[in-house]
């Protein structure tokens, strides 16, 4: 039997404590690394959720997701004109950064509007179809094109390539005049 004196007791307890401490430390480091990895991924996701998804490219990136990635890697978060001040606020809150003003070199905030093609002037060149990031323009070569209003993000990208300038950005308005036509329809259809 070992002489179980004070010296041995101290030794045992010390080494036991050391092993426990190192294992705890290793666990912490492992957890931290895991957290960092998932955080990076989920941060991009979270940023992307805040961005307005107009895919306009005014920030200098080809779409909102690339910009979200760039922000997560440290790019300034004030380069999204369609999102406006609200998006900057939300991003600043998420990233724990000071709130900046919108960077004017990337454009001004505009109210949401949709592209509308003046259909009798359209020559069917398909250039706007190629420019549209969300495939919201319908048409074929040498045939008239039209914009699916519900899917237009108002990104402006189709206006520039049009050779005959027949695309207008119009403010999206709820069909005000239709209300009365509805009533007349009902009146006409009465038994």
């Amino acid at each position: 039997m070992l002489p179980l004196n004070t010296f041995w007791l101290v030794q045992l307890s010390l080494s036991g404590g050391l092993i426990l401490a190192t294992s705890l430390l290793l666990l912490k480091i492992y957890k931290y690394l895991c957290y960092q990895l998932t955080a990076q991924k989920s941060l991009v996701k979270q940023i992307n959720r805040i961005l307005p998804q107009t895919q306009c490219g005014q920030c200098g990136h080809p779409g909102c997701l690339p910009y979200a990635r760039a922000i997560s890697e440290g790019e300034a978060s004030n380069r999204c004109p369609p999102g406006g001040h609200e998006t900057i606020l939300e991003l600043a809150e998420l990233l724990n950064e000071p709130v900046l003003e919108l960077d004017p070199s990337h454009g001004q905030f505009k109210e949401f509007s949709v592209a509308v093609i003046r259909e009798d002037e359209c020559i069917g060149c398909t250039k706007c179809i190629q420019a549209c990031p969300v495939d919201a323009i319908l048409g074929g070569p040498k045939l008239m094109h039209t914009v699916i209003e519900a899917e237009c993000t108002g990104c402006d990208l189709c206006v520039e390539p049009c050779p005959v300038d027949c695309i207008d950005m119009l403010k999206h308005c709820e069909d005000a005049p239709v209300i009365f036509s509805k009533i007349h329809d009902i009146q006409g259809a009465r038994p």
Binding site: T54, Q55, L89, E90, V164, I183
Partner: protein, 554 residues
């Protein structure tokens, strides 16, 4: 209720019902005594009625009449088919006889604050009515038949919500209902329509409650009234006693007189002790609440066979000589009602719809009375005047004590100022019932409720934007995958094309030689494009010239 029982209920002991404590609440002066001085008055037939049918956004309107038709009292004019559920509809009936002169959009005195489609009825003063449907014995009818009859009478929630009463019963049809509460609390200052109704027509109210209980097959039916209304309580006690001798088993419960005791969830809590969780309906917990006005309308529909063409409306305020309760015809203008109450227009500062705490300013004095118009106030200048000076929040915490939903109004205010939506949602802004108790107690006169309303609207637009951007994101992903696919397939195509090209070209040229009017010809297309480009260039030059001319002239 005997005096002993009443004492027992106040102490919360014994076998009788007792109300339970709810959080928060305030005790503002009631101002109800002015309008309760006289009895409910029938109103003279106004020269014109604008009967609201509904807003076009809320559903489709089916008209049974056209402009120029002569209609009788009680005749069905139109119905609003709600878009949310296809089968629900709210019919509208003629309050008196006359000629339909137009169908137009007009302001309506209800909480939507928007123009609604109205049927304009030029009355002839004869008041010729269709024969009322023979009154059937409601005790013989099954609950589905009762619900159909309620739906046909066009009854909506008379307390102010305006939700179709039949749909409310239907929504709870799958659940086993424990409790039907008839809400007679009417806690808001100025409004006395329900109290006047009970005081004079308690039998109808109790019968209506019994019909509603049968229709929703609820086990118990409790009429909840504020303890500060002795006359109404007495009338109800007598009516309940008379009815209990025949068939009914309605009970009466006095709830403490404080604002907002009559708010749906608060009332349920004080009657049954159940606290309805956020985002859930009372029906999910076996409780249903109907207003007394609704109950009386149900009585009229089932026992008298009379559709919903009038309602009791309180007219009050300092600008009126004789404030009173009217049995107002649906569709009469607010101004007409004020006139017969002797309004002094020079005294009127503003017109409110509803009570003094939750009331809204009417967009127009010519607004038409709807089925949910419970109170109209012609307020004098020193009555309900907005506080002149808004001071900073001193964090006194009075608002948190007053809040019936147990929110933290000062925290919400701070988050609203910084538009911190995530924190606002976390702190339960969406559960705010906009009762105005926090406004009332605030020593700094901060208009908290209107700030919360703005925040709620902002959050809602933000949420719809998020929904929209989700669609865009998906579309963008589709687009990218399509581009990628095309790129992957591109090499095979470019290889294939050169081999075929010469043959194709020769074909085209051959066909061009053969037929000048070839539909798809490259030359023709390029000519057209060139012409279009030239057109635009010319137009641009013109506009530039015009601009330069203008500059020069300046």
């Amino acid at each position: 209720m005997s005096p002993l029982q009443r004492i027992q209920s106040m102490l919360g002991v014994g076998t009788s019902l007792s109300s339970r404590r709810t959080a928060g609440g305030i005790k503002p002066p009631s101002y109800k005594e002015h309008s309760l001085r006289s009895r409910i008055m029938p109103m003279p037939i106004p020269p014109q009625l604008k009967i609201p049918v509904g807003a076009t956004e809320s559903g489709t309107i089916a008209l049974d009449i056209a402009a120029g038709d002569h209609v009788h009292k009680y005749q069905k004019l139109a119905q609003l088919q709600l878009s949310a559920q296809g089968r629900t509809s709210i019919p509208v009936h003629a309050p008196t006889s006359g000629i339909v002169s137009a169908i137009e959009e007009a302001y309506v005195a209800d909480h939507s604050q928007q123009k609604q489609v109205c049927i304009v009825l030029k009355t002839d003063g004869l008041d010729t009515s269709l024969p009322l449907e023979p009154a059937v014995d409601y005790r013989q009818l099954a609950s589905e038949e009762l619900v159909t009859a309620i739906r046909r009478a066009g009854i909506v929630g008379m307390g102010g919500a305006g939700f179709p009463a039949a749909d409310k019963i239907d929504s709870a049809a799958h659940q086993a209902l424990d409790l039907l509460i008839i809400n007679a609390a009417e806690c808001e200052p100025y409004i006395s329509a329900d109290e006047a109704l009970i005081r004079e027509r308690a039998e109808g109210v109790v019968t209506g409650a019994e019909i509603l209980q049968r229709a929703s097959s609820a086990r118990r039916c409790i009429i909840a009234i504020e303890s500060s209304k002795p006359n109404a309580i007495q009338a109800l006690e007598q009516a309940i006693e008379a009815q209990t001798n025949i068939t009914g088993n309605c009970e009466l419960l006095l709830v403490p007189s404080k604002y907002p005791a009559g708010s749906e969830k608060q009332l349920i809590q004080s009657v049954s002790g159940i606290e309805i969780p956020s985002g859930q309906h009372p029906a999910q917990h076996g409780v249903l609440v109907h207003n007394v006005g609704t109950s009386y309308a149900v009585f009229q529909a089932l026992v008298l066979g009379r559709p919903c063409i009038s309602r009791i409306t309180t007219l009050s305020g300092q600008a009126l000589k004789t404030p009173k309760n009217f049995e107002a015809l649906i569709g009469c203008s607010v101004e007409f009602l004020f006139e017969i109450c002797g309004i002094d227009k020079s005294l009127r500062h503003k017109t409110l719809l509803g009570g003094s705490l939750m009331g809204l300013q009417l967009p127009s004095d010519n607004a038409a009375v709807s089925k949910t118009t419970n109170c109209l106030i012609a307020a004098g200048s020193d009555e309900l005047a907005p506080p002149t000076e808004i001071q900073a929040c001193i964090r006194c915490g009075f608002c948190a004590d007053a809040c019936p939903v147990r929110l933290l109004p000062q925290q919400l205010l701070a988050f609203s100022k910084t538009a911190n939506n995530s924190q606002l949602l976390e702190h339960g802004l969406m559960d705010c019932i906009e009762c105005g108790a926090c406004d009332y107690v605030c020593p700094s006169h901060i208009p908290l409720v209107s700030i919360y309303k703005d925040s709620k609207a902002a959050i809602e637009t933000r949420l719809t934007n998020h929904e929209r951007s989700k669609v865009w994101q998906q579309r963008f992903q589709y687009h990218q995958s399509r581009i990628k696919k095309e790129k992957d397939q591109a090499p095979t195509r470019t290889k294939a094309v050169p081999a075929k090209k010469p043959a194709a070209e020769s074909e085209v040229s051959a066909s061009n030689n053969g037929n000048e009017q070839e539909f798809f010809s490259k030359e023709k297309a390029s000519r057209e494009i060139a012409a279009a480009v030239a057109r635009v260039k010319a137009r641009r030059d013109e506009s530039k010239k015009a601009a330069s001319v203008q500059d020069k002239s300046k």
